[in-house]
Subunit: 406 residues, 2 copies
């Protein structure tokens, strides 16, 4: 059981053994656009990658590094996805890894690469070279370095997203630190965004366990965020364990379960920031489903509601339009019966077993003006639950996505 | 083989034996909101209904009528979906059918009902009564009556949608007339819209064949239109055959195949109007997929592209952003390989077997400013094709859906 959870205003270098830097090398029209994360010694590594059939060069490369179970650096560029660039794209990606490898005297197959930005434009390697040189020279630990790196990986994000916590659990030999940063601009898009998440820990933990922990934590956090249902070509989530702290998870069991729980909590904090900062978002929306006949059914209902443009536009308009929520649940393709269903907007029951309630519409409207809102669907058929995070659809969503030109 | 296709500016009463009326009874705040379609004698009937688990009272009732294979009237109200109203909703729906039945001296189980509008409000039966009385007194045939009915079934539609054609085929004993009207406002929504389509023919054709023809024609037309992926609780497509013309289709075979083809053509004309008038739409978008490994794969790719908010916002911005189209195809969950894929915007090849082409961006931008555009994906893997129709996502989509209040 987790016995203490202390959050700190820090990020990826909060765990022992990590340094980072965020610099500008001119890949974006303004601001920092190049980041490096380095572990003092070889770290164990886990990674999850996009399921899109179209994949960036970095995804193909980093997947192989992760398969090796060890990494010592992550190099990330914004402003250019290096996707659909044919063999030249793979060569350029490899060159970026090689430069980092030579500077840091580590093997190139210990360097994770990540790219986010426009598709179909070759990486300007002069700028990348400058980015590597500059980032290596500025490597540092601490809050400023963490914010610098979290800022450098942004595309249409409106703020840097980073979280850190020191955690203890009753079966652990010592507290474990977790740190992380992510970017997405909510929209998981190939064009000016991509979901990237990088998480570190100072626990000593073997790669297979680390991969299992990341898989489970992501399933309950990053995979529960949707802005528009679009999956990027470059999505990536990387977890490195330095082993430089005193914590150690050596096998499956209670201590490992507590680690998964702590990691899930940190990843959930990061994931909710992705939805909160969704393109054009005015509010963070949590969709809770309970009473479904199975876990997949609960997830299908939550996801269909969270991705429904009609639900999301109604929420932007602060309209307690339960008909749209019900309609979305009804088309999820899983067992669902309105006559057994109840709907809640916040704590206000708006629909009960087949009929609309005579609820206080003004109160519901007022509740929907909050920055964080919760919709709950009780399907009344079983014991399974699910939660998704999303945001509303505003004029700015259209503006950001229609007015950006390739 | 179809030997002649003559379109006329008319609608649901163009085939022999039908009369219609569109009147105002006060269910909407303004305009006509109540329509009746009547066949001189009992017609054979076919119908398709929403797959949403949440269904309007009219869907439950009309499904039973269609099962009987015969109908003589269709009564349609706009402004109120009569959905999620419990037993009272079913009673009110039945009463609406009863009133039509008594006025026209036909059995109530020969009356199809259809409702579209707000969910969760009881039907104001005083108004419905007035609507039935008025519509019966105004029944008429001809273009004006057709437009009146097509107007009365509108919700957020910006114009009435109706089509008619006289068709001949080499194996037919006589030409066959087809007429139809539909509404949707593009968005297939429970709140202020619903996809409703009503088609008539004067051919004599038994109900099982009629149902098979409607199923096949809809699959290639109405089921190929998507505005936002949301499926309404009240969607319905009804086809009545009066048998009052000289045409006859008595069994499966070439003559029937030609009838299916003609019906598909008429339904496609109607379906494209749904996409063209999508809420906030500025253009009609045809997504063509070829070279897929199977028919379901072709459909999944076409549909994922047609429903991608990123693609739809880019099209609103007239941006030849092929990365978004490729990304959407890549997440369709079916075999797809960018290295074998080519993309076309109109006739302009923008992406070929894995890499972006050096195409004329200005020409592509200019092409995208047209009112009708075609995107083509050649997956290069097989022989299967699919086509979907959709529209772009504009500021007005958000405006219509966020500013409408329940």
């Amino acid at each position: 059981m987790i016995t203490s959870w202390r959050e700190v205003e820090a990020g990826i270098t909060f765990p022992e053994g990590f340094a980072t830097a965020g610099v500008r090398c001119g890949l974006k029209t303004s601001g920092e656009d190049f980041a490096l994360v380095v572990s003092e010694s070889e770290a164990t590594v886990a990674g999850l990658f996009t399921t899109n059939k179209v994949q960036g060069a970095c995804v193909r490369y980093s997947r192989r590094v992760v398969r090796g179970g060890a990494a010592q650096a992550v190099v990330i560029n914004a402003g250019n996805a290096n996707t659909c660039n044919g063999e030249q794209g793979d060569t350029d990606n490899r060159t970026m890894a090689d430069w980092v490898s030579r500077h840091l005297h580590i093997p190139p197959d210990r360097v994770i690469t990540a790219s986010t930005g426009v598709i179909g434009h070759l990486l300007p390697m002069e700028n990348v070279r400058k980015g590597v040189d500059l980032a290596v020279s500025k490597l540092d630990s601490g809050r400023d370095a963490d914010i610098g790196a979290a800022t450098a990986i942004m595309t249409t994000d409106t703020y840097a997203k980073y979280r850190a916590a020191e955690v203890d659990a009753d079966g652990w030999v010592a507290p474990i630190r977790l740190g992380g940063m992510c970017k997405g601009a909510g929209m998981i898009a190939p064009n000016m965004a991509t979901m990237l998440a990088f998480v570190t820990t100072d626990a000593r933990i073997p790669a297979p366990l680390l991969q299992e922990a990341l898989r489970r934590a992501s399933e309950a956090s990053f995979n529960r965020v949707t802005v528009d249902g679009d999956t990027s070509t470059n999505d990536m989530c990387i977890l490195m364990a330095s082993g430089m702290g005193n914590g150690e998870i050596s096998r499956a069991g209670d201590a490992f379960e507590d680690f998964v729980q702590a990691l899930t909590r940190l990843c959930t904090l990061l994931a909710k920031e992705l939805a909160r900062d969704g393109e054009g978002a005015t509010k963070l929306v949590e969709v809770r489903v309970r009473g479904a006949v199975s876990a997949p059914a609960a997830h299908a209902i939550a996801r269909t509601i969270a991705e429904s443009p009609l639900v999301k536009t109604a929420l932007f308009g602060n309209d307690p339009n339960w008909g749209r929520v019900l309609m979305a649940a009804g088309r999820a393709g899983v067992p669902f019966d309105p006559d057994q269903t109840s709907l809640f907007i916040g704590d206000i029951e708006v629909f009960k077993t087949g009929t609309g309630m005579n609820f206080d519409r003004d109160a519901a409207h007022d509740y929907l003006t909050n920055k964080e809102i919760v919709l709950t669907v009780d399907a009344g058929m079983g014991d399974f639950t699910d939660t998704m995070w999303t945001c509303d659809y505003s004029y700015d969503y259209i503006k950001i996505n229609a007015e950006y030109h390739t």
